[in-house]
Symmetry: C2
Subunit: 199 residues, 2 copies
DNA sequence: TGTACATCAGTGAACGCGCGTTCACTGATGTAC
DNA sequence: TGTACATCAGTGAACGCGCGTTCACTGATGTAC
């Protein structure tokens, strides 16, 4: 009873990771049960031992993305107490995420994932809101200690922060990785941090 | 010879518009030849009188999006000579575009459209680059006449400009239009214009 | 003006394909006696 | 330690479905005489 449960949870992880890898490599349209299975050396029907169906698998994948985003926040805020430094860390992690695991931006903007069910759209909404709220929280922390202009609306600033990297991620994807996201992030950060700073 | 050509070009417009409407209403996954046809009261095979296939239809749709984006630029720059006013106009038009025709952000980020062929990805890349270049051009104009900080990298600033509205568009979509894009755009503009201004 | 013809947008049946999913099964593994 | 049994991840054939696309056709319309 302990072993099979472990096996299943390991298999679930493997399946979700395989699904995200496929989306990263070939796009959401290429994500089929057959492809996921073959990537793990299984037969398509075997996946149904671990997930009720494709929808359940996608839900798990979306949860993983949400967790990874939040892990970034936790890691960045744990590294330093300076809110501007935290934002900078978060930005760099976001860049790394785009470069390493293209699946995240692809899935987040994918209609395959969002268009399908009301529940998944709600899930995506909650992930996005949670992430934005976390960023806004950092900004408010900065405002409280005077490192960030107090007149700024923290939520708007959080959205702009996301916007620093989002179009760059798309351009990176559309140019097959030839666009230099890291350099862009550095430059965008200069402008952003200046816009945040009081004076 | 004159009439059939006209008819075909009208039909092509109708078909492309129907395709964009479907994407706007139900997402890229719902975009099938059958659905496009039924929206126009036709039979699926009739579409093949006007387009070689689905790919050709999607190419035309992407071209239309590119044209609409560029129309926005032309309209905004034609309205005033002040580069900051031009950017503001462009931002508002972008907001209106999101609110009216959800298809544009949906298609631009859709993997259904991008993932498929190398050529379409290249087309999307060119549209995006063209749009960014146009924005960068406005910014450089502003720098030349001293309305915008000269130290700014115009391309980075152009990307940030796009980023003002992009995450908001996603949030708008994911909340089924409950997120107030217009208000966000106003607030984001305040922050952006301040970051652009010299002093 | 009236008739014969060419053009061509639209039709409808048919196709092959990949998809998500089902279900009875197999056979390895861990457990009980 | 050895045997009998239960568990359950993985199998493979089969399914119904919607998709993009084809092709021989129809019938309205514009043109030539």
């Amino acid at each position: 009873m302990a072993r099979p449960k472990l096996d299943t949870s390991i298999r679930q992880q493997q399946i979700v990771q395989a699904a995200l890898d496929i989306v990263a490599d070939y796009g959401p349209k290429a994500l089929s049960m057959a492809r996921v299975a073959s990537r793990l050396g299984m037969v398509p029907s075997a996946i149904y031992r671990h997930f009720a169906g494709k929808d359940a698998m996608l839900d798990a994948a979306m949860d993983l993305i949400g967790r990874k985003l939040m892990d970034n926040v936790t890691a960045a805020t744990g590294l330093t107490a300076d809110p501007m430094q935290q934002l900078r860390e978060l930005l760099l992690r976001h860049v790394r995420m785009i470069r390493e695991n293209l699946a995240i931006p692809r899935v987040v903007f994918s209609e395959d994932a969002l268009g399908a069910s009301v529940e998944r759209k709600a899930r995506a909404r909650d992930i996005l809101r949670g992430y934005l709220a976390a960023i806004a929280g950092i900004i408010e922390g900065g405002q409280a200690q005077g490192a960030i202009r107090r007149e700024l609306d923290s939520k708007t600033a959080a959205m702009i922060f996301m916007g620093l990297i989002l179009p760059a991620g798309i351009l990176w994807h559309v140019t097959d990785g030839r666009f230099d996201v890291t350099r862009h992030a550095e430059r965008a950060w200069q402008i952003f941090s200046r816009a945040m700073s009081p004076r």
